[in-house]
Amino acid sequence: MSDKRPAPAGTAVISDQAPEGSRRASAGSLRVRELTIALPGPRGMAEVVDGVSFDMAEGRTTGLIGESGSGKSLTAMALVGLVPDTAVVSGQVLLGEENLLTAGRARIRQVRGAEISVVFQDPSTALNPTMTIGDQVGEILWGRGVSRAQARERAVELLEHVGIPDAAHRVGAYPHEFSGGMRQRAMIALALAGEPRFILADEPTTALDVTVQARILDLLGRLRDEDNLSMLLVSHDLRVMSHVADDLVVMYAGRVCERGAARTVLRTPLHPYTGALVRSVPSVRVGSAIADPLPGSPANPFDRPPGCPFNPRCPRAEDRCRTEVPALREIAPGRLSACHFAEELS
């Protein structure tokens, strides 16, 4: 089985995993700096993603969490240039020393699939209904001098790799002949076909049955380790994050409000929004069975309140919060928070 495993894309394989909190050399990371995405809204262009910075560290799973509309998907898709035509994007997405945001269309197309792949949310709509699974998985190889027959063989290997039984036969099937979980496995095989180093998984389990969600998350974790991938996992589900994320980026209304190693962020949140998120999920907080739902409704990123965007819902809000935008600051080593009173929370 192991001889059929896809080799990691032409990079030096670094033997062990990074210990928590350690910062690797940036060559193996994808670094996002001050990413800002403006979209036309009811009152002109609005920065629905505003100055977002984080690293996708090599070999780790970076969790991007936030409520619906907080800009998670836009942020993730901007890394491969898949934003709406009307979007104005600025900042930096650094692959090595190269800024992908200024790299040009042809270069971005080279990067897609080969360096950075995407696993989409709903595999029942994200797969082409009239193309066989095998063709969709192998298609990325067609343009690289690989024959269709070879691409199909490779597709069988990849389907086996993601745990699809009887792959040699299922390779000719169409998406509607697969169950939801199998479709998502096929989607993952598709994302692996170009041997990328980075995988962006946008809510990869949200559309699936609860029973298969855990298995897909396990699969993603296994692949990350076996193929030495770096993963960005977008989710609004803290329970998912607490299981699989190594690092956490918490977004609120298009801005990062907290960043750090997942475990410590969830154990001792340094931002009231993260705290409220944690309290809203009973099983995440040890010793509490009672969920404490988040009060109020998410801020509209097209119409952010002045000052700290979380202030209308924040129990700790003071006058300063309504006028002064809190900057994202390092509070403790590897712990960043965008709350004026972060120090008092620790």
């Binding site: 699939g113 193309m131 298609e139």
Partner: protein, 309 residues
Amino acid sequence: MLPQLARRLGLMVFTVWGALSLTFVILRIAPGDQATVQLGPEATAADVAALRTELGLDRPVFLQYLDYLGSAVTGDFGESYRFHDSAMTVILDRFPATVVLALSATVLALTVGLLLGVLAGRSPGRLTDRVISGCTLVMQAIPPFWSGIMLILLMALTLRLLPSAGSGDLEHLVLPAVTLAIPFTALVARITRSSVAEVTSEPYIQTARSKGLSERAVLTRHAVRNSVIPVVTMVSLHIGTLMGGAVIVEQVFAWEGVGSLLVSAVGNRDYAIVQGATVLIAIIVVTMNLLADLVNARLDPRIRAGVTS
């Protein structure tokens, strides 16, 4: 698969039977019959009555209907009194001309319509789209007899490029085929446009882009095939309209096909021809519908699964 096919064939037979019966009923309801028209206004009542007896027109309508059905099943629609020949022979003689006309118009409409539709649909709201959508809106509204006359005025009488009327060769085919194709092209373009616009916003198109495919590959490998499926369905539903248009266009351009034969037969109460031609057109329509369904089953594995299970 078999019950599906059986049901499908049953439906086709039912449709043709419907066309057959409706024609029969309408011909009997219409004032005048073959005897009065054949003998002309000077004929005596006695002569007319004698001819009616000879033709069997004085028998109870229901018996006439049963007779007619019985022989229609064997392909026998009786003699045409004007051609002094079996109606089927006369109709089949004209049949190739209609097939050529309808097929040319269909091919023309599909090529141009799909092309325009894809161009418009891949960038909805842009200038290309607005120009194409405007043109197709006008094209769809023009009745074929009017566009036919306009084309004759322009191409035949003013520019003298093509003959205005006649039948048989390519020179004579161009104008009627174009006339017939105009509203059909517009229809195909409009459906293709909305279909492409819809398909290109599907998540799997984003997936295709995420593989690093060129926009051209995304369009041809992923968007077009999925967009064509509803187009084929709609085209299939409008085959009847196309055949109706063919009848008028043949008449305008004196194209000697089944359509112009049918129009003259109606005027002359040539029952045998009218009934035979109507049934033939009905058979063409249901066959084309079946063909369209098979094409769609070929294009869409989900339909294929439905057809074969």
